[in-house]
């Protein structure tokens, strides 16, 4: 048997990039910038107008590589692709696949159209750069945490308690992938994945690709080895649009009929029947309609009383709901462990999009992690000094349950934790109760998180629909102390 050189090389590079991806998004902090390697979120970031030079270069490199070599990205960079390869380990034979092209472009059209209409959830669930991270955060990290706790390894900062919505979405994606991968190989990548559809368009005319020479005897060995279903042994064609360049077929051919190089043979022509055109067109129209309907009626109205608190840098509610793809990179990076996937807090239009849950933690004052890592441009990078004055929400004080007011004892936990001095303890009978300086409050939730009143704290932060900068905390006059002169006792 020949040594499968191509295949081994592909697996080696894929393993390396998978480990790097997991490191950057999980156990090695501060390397989230490597996420720029994900073309899906890069394009969203560019569309959002919040790109950096690195993101532009990364996107350009990936597209040019695809133009040159086909969809190598899908085999060696995309973590979801590599995950599927892991799932189909030891599966040697793949049944021949039909061409799912109509389905694929219909799904692609629907997803993009609904995004344009203002509903981002279909894209969030299908795009590898977001749904893989959901799987990683909500399944891998949770399982790892449980294991490390059971075995008493002392691993700080591993906890990432999944929200119900994130947990369900992640398991949904994971099980779907497992079923599809065991059934027909990379069928997800060639039907549901919007990035796969996009890169497929670029890969159609790939300069270097796998092609069949005349040595082919149409035995079908390569076709059975192909997990993308892109080889037609009878016709002697390789569909570069579907091929993910796993290179498994090269070593399978006894007659060396498959080659990797500059092939000119038989590009599968793009024939569009009227029926297919109508189906895809219908999907696009449906997507636009869904997007418009959901964005118009599915979102919560801008009522501050019930509004969830958006992560810093989100800007306005409308903007955030359109831009955030719910990948959860910010959730994994959040130092206060306060960010989590939402369920229906933002309404149907914003399912899964992150919000601040003050039961879990607080928005740490000296931290800009979420804005630093956001890969899709939903969060604007705001410098730390400005972020310290950025209003995410505003506190509402309910005196009737407040412990000092009710019991007459001393508490002051909220005032203690307020980083901007918005809660001042003022005398009340024999004790002190908080007085809210609304103009200073930034809505970080430190007070709500620490308030000992259960189940609803006496101080509750409601989100604002548009974030803005509040007043700087006032300097207070200096105090003169007797102790400065000599011992006061």
């Amino acid at each position: 048997m020949r040594v499968p050189v191509y295949r081994s090389a592909r697996i080696g590079i894929a393993a390396l990039s998978f480990v790097l991806f997991l490191s950057a998004t999980w156990f090695v902090k501060g390397y989230e910038g490597w996420y720029a390697g994900q073309i899906g979120s890069d394009l969203l970031k560019i569309a959002a107008g919040r790109y950096t030079l690195g993101v532009l270069i990364a996107a350009a490199v990936i597209l040019v590589l695809t133009l040159l070599f086909g969809r190598i990205y899908c085999s060696v960079v995309c973590p979801l692709g590599i995950l599927q390869d892991l799932m189909m380990m030891f599966k040697r034979k793949f049944r021949s696949q039909r061409s799912y092209r109509v389905l694929r472009y219909s799904v692609f059209g629907f997803v993009i159209a609904s995004l344009a209409g203002g509903f981002i959830l279909p894209l969030a669930l299908l795009m590898p750069s977001s749904n893989f991270l959901m799987v990683e955060n909500n399944i891998f990290r949770k399982v790892w945490q449980m294991v490390s706790e059971q075995l008493e390894w002392n691993m700080p900062n591993q906890a990432l308690n999944p929200a119900v919505s994130g947990y369900l979405a992640a398991w949904g994606v994971f099980i779907l992938l497992l079923v599809l991968a065991r059934w027909r190989g990379r069928v997800y990548c060639n039907t549901l994945c919007p990035v796969g559809a996009l890169l497929g368009l670029f890969a159609r005319g790939a300069r270097f690709k796998i092609f069949m020479t005349d040595a082919c005897v149409s035995c079908g060995a390569c076709e059975r080895a192909c997990k993308s279903g892109c080889i037609d042994a009878k016709a002697g064609t390789v569909n570069t649009e579907n091929c993910v360049m796993c290179l498994n077929c090269l070593d399978k051919c006894k007659f060396h009929a498959l080659k990797f190089g500059r092939g000119k043979k038989k590009v599968v022509e793009l024939s569009v029947s009227r029926r297919n055109f109508l189906v895809t067109g219908g999907a696009v129209a449906g997507g636009v309609a869904t997007g418009l309907v959901v964005s118009k009626f599915g979102g919560r109205t801008a009522n501050d009383k019930v509004a969830p608190v958006m992560p810093p840098g989100a800007g306005s509610r409308e903007e955030f709901l359109r831009k955030c793809v719910s990948c959860g990179l910010c959730i994994g990076a959040c130092k206060g462990h306060v960010l989590t996937h939402s369920s229906l807090e933002y309404g149907i239009g914003g399912i899964l999009q992150p919000y601040l849950n003050f039961k879990r933690g607080v928005c740490e004052f000296n931290c800009t992690s979420c804005m630093d890592v956001c890969p899709c441009g939903a969060l604007e990078k705001i410098p730390l000094e400005e972020k310290k004055r950025l209003r995410l929400g505003v506190v509402h004080y309910n005196r009737s349950v407040c412990i000092p007011y009710v019991d007459g004892t001393v508490c002051g936990a909220c005032s203690e934790h307020c980083p901007v001095g918005a809660l001042e303890m003022v005398p009340y009978k024999a004790t002190k109760i908080p007085h809210v300086h609304t103009d200073l409050c930034i809505g970080c939730g430190a007070c709500q998180n620490i308030c000992p009143v259960t189940p609803t704290p006496a101080v509750v932060v409601h989100g604002v629909s548009k974030q803005f900068l509040v007043e700087k905390p006032k300097q207070t006059p200096p105090v003169k102390l007797k102790a400065e002169e000599d011992f006061p006792f």
């Binding site: 906890a159 462990h337 004892t409 936990a413 005032s415 303890m425 002190k432 102390l481």
Partner: protein, 315 residues
């Protein structure tokens, strides 16, 4: 006894008398109006850097060897509550903590632990306070302390204890280190506090319980609970850091206008007396700070500073 010997003895005795008289005079001034003799109950020192003040003051108390014996495990419990820089004075001065760790090691301590149940996330507070780094450099074992945000990892170190001496705090979750250590050194920082008025030696012990117990404190008469926790295990030594003092908007502080450079340090074993003195330093009336009186009621010490032998030193 011949004449020669007699003269010798007489001269020696005379010399001794002079020396003791001079020494007595020195002590007289330093002990203040009360004029008590013997080792100091409480040492107050001002005007120097944290390390030098500690070294001088601990000598007055009889040296570190009096508190730490060879082979013992020591817990140094500073206030590392907040993710704030050293200058903000929200946490104990790292130089002081480091020096205490060094002296414990020199006295022969087997292990010196440093920990606090923090208010901000523990990893952030440990880092920005500078304490983790400074203490590690001196060979201390720095233990993370925050049962809320690192559940699973840290929560298991907090164990259930019963407190028969307490009025409101009958049962609580306590950090295993405080329970198991031989010597417990309390190193608070003196600050204004929005809740009980002032945080110092007594309030600092609130950082030895779990986050859940801290919530219980706030919900069930904070002042009484603070006194109760001090009744469970009194620290063997208290070192109050009042080098930089947050005089208002504490305990977190908002900006530099809240901090005053006072350069004080108070040492002693009587936790109530120390807090009474600390209240005077920060300019508060100790009668307005509920837990000090409650602590006296529980028999933890005295608020009457006149009864004590206080050593006042200006560097």
């Amino acid at each position: 006894m011949n004449r020669r010997d007699f003269l010798k003895t007489a001269a020696t005795l005379a010399a001794l008398g002079v020396v003791s008289k001079v020494a007595g005079a020195v002590k007289q001034t330093s002990a203040g109006a009360a004029g008590k003799s013997g080792p100091a109950d409480l040492v107050a020192i001002r005007g120097g850097e944290p390390e030098e003040m500690f070294d001088r003051a601990i000598r007055e108390l009889g040296g570190m060897e009096k508190f730490v014996k060879k082979g013992q495990t020591v817990l140094v419990k500073p206030n590392i509550g907040w993710d704030r820089p050293v200058e903000a004075a929200a946490n104990t001065n790292p130089k002081l903590v480091a020096r205490i760790v060094r002296r414990c090691k020199e006295a022969g301590a087997k292990e010196v632990y440093v920990f606090d149940t923090t208010c901000s996330r523990w990893d952030l507070a440990y880092k920005s306070s500078g304490i983790a780094e400074a203490a590690r450099k001196e060979g201390a074992i720095v233990v993370g302390g925050d049962s809320a945000s690192d559940k699973g990892y840290l929560e298991k170190y907090y164990v259930d204890v019963e407190n028969p001496n307490g009025r409101r705090l009958k049962k609580f979750k306590w950090h295993r280190l405080v329970k198991d250590c031989d010597v417990f050194i309390n190193v608070p920082v003196l600050k204004h506090h929005g809740g009980p008025g002032m945080t110092s030696a007594m309030k600092n012990l609130m950082g030895t319980v779990s986050k859940g117990t801290q919530r219980y404190f706030h919900a069930n008469d904070l002042n009484q609970c603070i006194a109760d926790i001090c009744a469970y295990r009194k620290p063997d030594l208290n070192v109050i850091d009042a080098y930089r003092v947050m005089v208002k908007r504490g305990p977190r502080g908002v900006d530099s206008s809240d901090v005053k450079l006072l350069k004080y340090q108070l040492l002693g074993t009587d936790i109530v007396a120390l807090d009474t003195a600390a209240a005077a330093v920060i300019g508060f009336d100790h009668r307005r700070i509920g837990h000090i009186a409650l602590g006296e009621k529980l028999g933890l010490g005295t608020r009457n500073l006149k009864k004590l032998n206080i050593k006042r030193i200006t560097v």
